[in-house]
């Protein structure tokens, strides 16, 4: 369809109208800031880090970036191959020389099928009914989290970093791989390693919910992302008051490190919350002003670990017999002409 679909256009217009109405009723930026400052937390605008102070702050130790990637190839369950790769890279060597770990998951292989069955029965014990497909999806997410934590643990042991940046929040690790996450936590705390989960897409609601209703006219802010959009100045961050813990185990704050008006969130371990104020300027110093708000080192790690489609195709082309590949994995849609 090369011309805009009139019907869809009209429906989208309604969405726009309702969102606009909502913003029309917003209190002013100042009013929200005032309210947040009084009830929820404190706005900090630290001075930028002075040049050549980073090395001293880091104590001569490197920074670590951790990220993982999964690429799935295939048409229909169970004939889907998942390839995993995780990377923990220290700034003292090339990104490519970091610690890599890979894994593969294919539901039709006996041990993997057993993992799915175990997942189903574990859920059943908790009174949850999982289809094998849903269970497989959970296994996949779990495997990725485990892989990332494992490279992080190994890298902390090997590189003695002063800080570890994770690409994503802590909830995922704690939820999907509790015992490995616990190991990591203890190790990093013992070695005085600062851990940060950098969240690019803030997906929480807690703040928005807390604030909604506190203003006359019962304004709803939807989600935190919406509430905080454009609310922080550049180089500013919002600390949440102790006692107002939205995420139970972690200390979360919001920040706007660059020009983009949206915010990112940082997760820290509660035990390290006292160091957060000192640490955030350092994060800012490593984040490009024009970018998405992610520290550059994490971008590099993300770029190196990602399994791209071309790589996946090359892998499959060289690793699988053509017959096998065609019969089971090549989605019919790849043959589409249009």
């Amino acid at each position: 369809m090369l011309v805009v679909d009139k019907g869809l256009q009209k429906l989208l217009k309604n969405v726009n109208l309702s969102l606009r109405d909502r913003t029309l009723n917003y209190p002013s930026r100042e009013a929200i800031r005032q309210y947040l400052g009084k009830k929820v937390g404190i706005f900090h605008k630290p001075a930028p880090l002075k040049a050549n102070t980073l090395e001293a702050l880091a104590g001569g130790r490197p920074l670590l970036g951790v990220d993982g990637s999964v690429h799935s190839y295939g048409a229909t369950f169970p004939h889907i191959i998942h390839c995993f790769r995780a990377l923990a890279a220290a700034t003292t060597s090339a990104v490519e020389n970091g610690i890599f770990q890979v894994d593969l998951f294919y539901p039709e292989m006996a041990p993997h099928r057993r993992e799915i069955e175990e997942m189903v029965s574990r859920a059943a014990a908790d009174g949850e009914v999982l289809t094998p497909e849903a269970a497989a999806a959970r296994v996949v997410r779990q495997k990725l989290a485990v892989l990332e934590i494992e490279v992080a643990i190994e890298a902390v042991r090997r590189y003695q970093p002063f800080a570890v940046l994770f690409d994503g929040g802590f909830l995922r690790y704690g939820g999907l791989a509790p015992s490995q996450w616990q190991t990591y936590r203890e190790l990093s705390l013992a070695r005085d390693v600062m851990s940060v989960g950098v969240i690019e897409e803030v997906g929480t609601f807690d703040l928005a919910r807390y604030v909604s209703g506190s203003f006359p006219g019962a304004t709803s802010f939807g989600c935190d992302r919406e509430l905080l959009f454009g609310l922080l100045d550049r180089g500013e961050w919002l600390a949440i008051r102790e006692g107002l813990k939205f995420k139970k185990t972690y200390y979360t704050c919001f920040a706007r490190p660059g020009r983009h008006p949206g915010v990112v969130a940082y997760d820290f371990f509660q035990e390290q919350s006292r160091q957060v104020a000192k640490f955030i300027p350092l994060l800012f110093a490593l984040t490009p002003l024009g970018g998405r708000g992610i520290p550059h080192w994490l971008d590099l790690v993300d770029n190196a670990v990602r399994i791209r489609r071309s790589e996946m195709e090359l892998l499959l082309a060289t690793g699988l017999d053509k017959g096998v590949r065609e019969r089971l994995f090549v989605p019919k849609r790849e043959g589409r002409i249009l």
Partner: protein, 620 residues
């Protein structure tokens, strides 16, 4: 270095962390299955992980962030990867496997591939680019046979494997084109090629509209062993002085072509020419006929009256009048108006003034028969006509000789030969609208010359304007820097240059070229060697001013400075020597004037002495 990414039978990518790739370098792929094929690097890239990120997002990663990362130990260089796209130079049946190692080959491994003949029996035109690393492994007979030149550094030793053109393949793959924009190195390359042609003693006729192709002066600072005596193997002739066209040998078509070169020729004029020109006419007989007829047409009534009056009894005048009136009666209806004849006369006179008809082409023929290179210099319009005439004649004689050989008949010997010219698009323009006497013979040679051992060597900065059947027949093309898109189109069509090479064409440095050759079957990147000779007027005009046009006053000043101190007391002592040195009369007044000038300019000092004035060296 190893193969990475996608591979096909024709193309692979190689990556290296340590060593940047060089464009056009040859690499050996250590693939046993495919018998170690060679590849040529056609595209190189070195990139840092930063770069893709820079382009993905709008903004550059700010310096601040990079410096801060550097403080945490990050070495940006460590993440630099060198990539090369490699064209495989063999026909493989299946792709090369990923992960296979790639290395620089030893000379022995690629010798057969790159050296078609040894340098003594081929044309050594330059070096193959991308083979620089192999220089030290070259055998003695391939070392320093192609010295290089760089404007700011002068003559340089050979770096790389020599590029040797195999002219023995010409009967199969005839004719050479040299194309490139102005300043790209065409003329330089033409000179180098002609030097090699002379070295092989291939007879050649060179039409030189730029008056630059003489071979008597050695290239400055060339090491002696590299020099060659080209004066002995070449002859330079000036059109109109040393060579011309004997009017007696012209036919109507030749004459038309000549007159066209001197000015536009209308259909009426052409009719008149064909009518009035007789076989074996001399210049005098033809121009007299033209003059008399013109007079007759203009004064017909007068002349008839004079005749009736019996020409006042003068028998000589009577005969003259009768002769002229007879001409009028014979041609009147066929030659049109007097103005047509006048126009023809004007053109004919112009040619005469340029001394077109004063001599013949024997000197050219003699040089060709002696296996020399003969350069004919002259204005382009003259060369067009003379060239067309000479080439047609030589080609005919060569053909007759060879055909006679076949049938066992007798015919004068005539050797195979080459025809070379710069600005070829002027001799054989593509547009049929433009009159060009040499076009048809050049086209004939392009199409069938190889049968008779007659070959073309055409240089042009406008391939798009060159006759297209000729372009298509040039089996070897040297392509220099080209910018114009219409020319690039022709090159794309008429050569096997790939898109990478086409993309590089506008940026080639002077003297670098791609050689697209049907006999080799692939494109080779070359750097043309230093020429062994120079054009006599290649000196910078301002340098020439400085060296050859020193004002007389300047010369006198210099000479006087060497005679100081000077004064009335010793003028006569020096005068003789000064006159001899400057080879002219010099007066005491002139000397005094000149010395006074130098005093004013502060070059010397002057002091009044008892015996008069003394001029002397400044003390500081």
């Amino acid at each position: 270095m190893q193969i990475v990414g996608h591979t096909t039978q024709q193309e692979v990518y190689a990556a290296s962390r340590q060593r940047p790739f060089r464009i056009n370098e040859l690499l050996l792929i250590e693939d046993k299955v495919h018998n170690y094929p060679l590849g040529e690097v056609v595209e190189t890239q070195s990139f840092n992980r930063y770069i893709p990120l820079v382009t993905e997002h709008s903004d550059l990663v700010d310096r601040r962030v990079r410096e801060n990362l550097a403080q945490l130990g990050y070495d940006i260089e460590a993440d630099t990867i060198h990539l090369a796209r490699i064209r495989i130079l063999a026909e493989l049946v299946s792709p090369v496997s990923v992960g296979i190692a790639v290395r620089v080959p030893a000379f022995k491994e690629i010798e057969d591939f790159l050296i078609p003949r040894d340098p003594d029996t081929g044309l050594v035109l330059g070096v193959i680019r991308g083979t620089e690393e192999l220089t030290s492994g070259l055998p003695a007979n391939l070392t320093n046979v192609a010295l290089l030149y760089q404007k700011d550094k002068g003559v340089l030793p050979q770096r790389g494997i020599p590029y040797i053109m195999d002219h023995w393949t010409w009967p199969e793959y005839p004719h050479i084109g040299i194309f490139g924009g102005s300043g790209s190195g065409k003329s330089f390359a033409l000179r180098v090629l002609l030097e090699e042609v002379m070295w092989q003693q291939l007879p050649a006729l060179v039409l030189d509209p730029h008056f630059e192709l003489s071979f008597t002066e050695a290239f400055p600072d060339l090491p002696p062993p590299y020099r060659g005596d080209f004066a002995r193997r070449s002859t330079v002739l000036m059109a109109g002085r040393d060579v011309g066209i004997l009017f007696e040998e012209l036919n109507g078509a030749d004459l038309l072509a000549l007159l066209q070169a001197a000015g536009e020729v209308t259909e009426n004029m052409n009719n008149a020419i064909q009518t009035l020109h007789h076989r074996r006419d001399s210049f005098t007989s033809f121009s007299n006929r033209l003059r008399d007829l013109t007079q007759g047409l203009e004064e017909e009534q007068d002349l008839k009256r004079r005749l009736r009056e019996d020409a006042g009894g003068d028998p000589w005048e009577k005969r003259e009048i009768e002769r002229i009136l007879a001409l009028v009666a014979k041609y009147k209806d066929r030659v049109g108006h007097v103005s047509t004849l006048r126009a023809i006369s004007r053109r004919l006179n112009r040619l005469h003034m340029e001394r077109v008809f004063t001599s013949g082409i024997e000197p050219i023929q003699e040089a060709i028969l002696n296996r020399r290179l003969v350069v004919v210099q002259g204005p382009i319009w003259f060369l067009q006509v003379l060239g067309a005439y000479v080439i047609r004649k030589f080609y005919r004689e060569r053909r007759q000789y060879q055909d006679a050989e076949q049938t066992g008949e007798e015919a004068p010997k005539f050797p195979p030969f080459l025809v070379a010219t710069d600005e070829a698009h002027n001799f054989a323009p593509r547009s049929p609208e433009i009159p060009a006497p040499a076009r048809s013979i050049l086209r004939t040679i392009a199409q069938e010359g190889r049968k008779y051992g007659v070959f073309l060597l055409l240089a042009s900065q406008r391939p798009a304007l060159l006759e297209d059947t000729i372009t298509a027949q040039l089996n070897t093309k040297l392509i220099f820097r080209t910018i114009r898109s219409s020319d690039l189109d022709v090159i794309r069509e008429e050569t096997d240059l790939g898109p990478e090479e086409i993309r590089r064409l506008p940026y080639l440095g002077s003297g670098n070229a791609f050689v697209s050759s049907a006999s080799v079957g692939r494109t080779i990147a070359v750097r043309i060697r230093v020429a062994k000779t120079v054009s006599p007027h290649s000196r910078h005009p301002f340098l020439e001013l400085r060296e050859d046009f020193i004002p007389p006053e300047e010369k006198l000043r210099k000479a006087l400075l060497q005679c100081l101190p000077l004064g009335d007391f010793n003028f006569d002592v020096h005068l003789g020597a000064l006159q001899q040195k400057l080879r002219r009369q010099i007066s005491i007044e002139e000397i005094t004037h000149c010395l006074e000038g130098m005093v004013i300019d502060g070059v010397i000092e002057k002091e009044e002495m008892l015996l008069g004035v003394e001029y002397r060296q400044r003390k500081d």
